[in-house]
Assembly symmetry: C2
């Protein structure tokens, strides 16, 4: 049994499968606008994963010459690649992740902060959350008009983020009322 590949490899593999014949540059843009919300990866990493996938034979790279832009590589999944993708999707143990909330780490040590610093921290968090709510709301509405199968999961993923942010915003309200007793 070969050593397990990182989740990001499958993230890129899935993206190539979803958008065949896209360039790395295109995929960087799409990744940033789609799964970056719950699985952010850097441009460098995405390119490296594309090369790894090509080495594995899971994607096939084709050079495309362009007239009004520099030449590029485009990618599409191979049969083994699609098999690897569905195997990974079928594996429940593969659904690993990490959560690291800088906000909560600060808040956890709030006793060491002055009251106005705590208020400021909560305010900043509220700004972040409201921005998320706007972003996700827009995304949900936009994807609701599309009828492709990919749009549905995209919309529901965005809804997940929306509901999460809304619950946390309500949490801020409750915390503020408790702290100003």
């Amino acid at each position: 049994m070969t050593t397990a590949l990182p989740e990001s490899t499958y993230a890129v593999l899935g993206l190539v499968d979803k958008l065949p014949r896209s360039s790395g540059y295109d995929l960087v843009g799409v990744a940033g606008r789609s799964f970056a919300h719950f699985w952010p990866i850097s441009q460098t990493l995405l390119y490296r994963e594309l090369n790894r996938l090509a080495d594995l034979g899971w994607v096939h790279a084709t050079r495309v010459e362009q007239e009004r832009s520099p030449s590029k590589w485009i990618y599409e999944t191979t049969r083994p690649g699609r098999e690897a993708l569905t195997d990974w999707l079928a594996d429940p143990a593969a659904a690993k992740g990490t959560v690291r909330s800088g906000f909560l780490l600060h808040f956890f040590f709030a006793e060491r902060m002055r009251p106005e610093q705590v208020r400021s921290l909560l305010d900043d968090y509220r700004v972040v959350l409201t921005a998320q709510i706007d972003e996700f709301s827009e995304l949900v509405e936009k994807l609701a008009t599309m009828s492709t199968p990919g749009a549905r999961t995209g919309r529901l993923s965005a809804l997940h983020g929306l509901r999460t942010a809304q619950a946390r915003l309500q949490w801020i309200v409750d915390v503020e009322t408790e702290l100003t007793l």
Copy 2:
């Protein structure tokens, strides 16, 4: 200006400040039961950060001989250490974090899954969330009875997790009803 230290360094610094004269072993246990929910760190990393903090002069290490247990090091923050901690707490830009949801990454590619696999994925997620809800509920109740200043932030942090998990559980219900139309 020195290069920025990782957040985990301050996480450990804050913990030493909160629980002075604890051993590394003790802190591993406390970290696992407290901020691991939103900032998990491994035992190895915690020990490494303790040594780094000692090198920085931010904590002071004392050797303690014990009769009924092996000898140990205990730690307490120094004046510069407490200053570094409050500086970090006052810095709003320091509240960085990362989110990586293995569940959503899978769900995002749900079009490639068979219907029963999607159901299974959602079921697994529900199990995780209900376990979180139980855990956080218990923590909230337990900390509600305590009156120390640290218990309040701990309780509210747990409440944050509780509300988040509840919202996501409701999201699952909505997704399931939509998918079985």
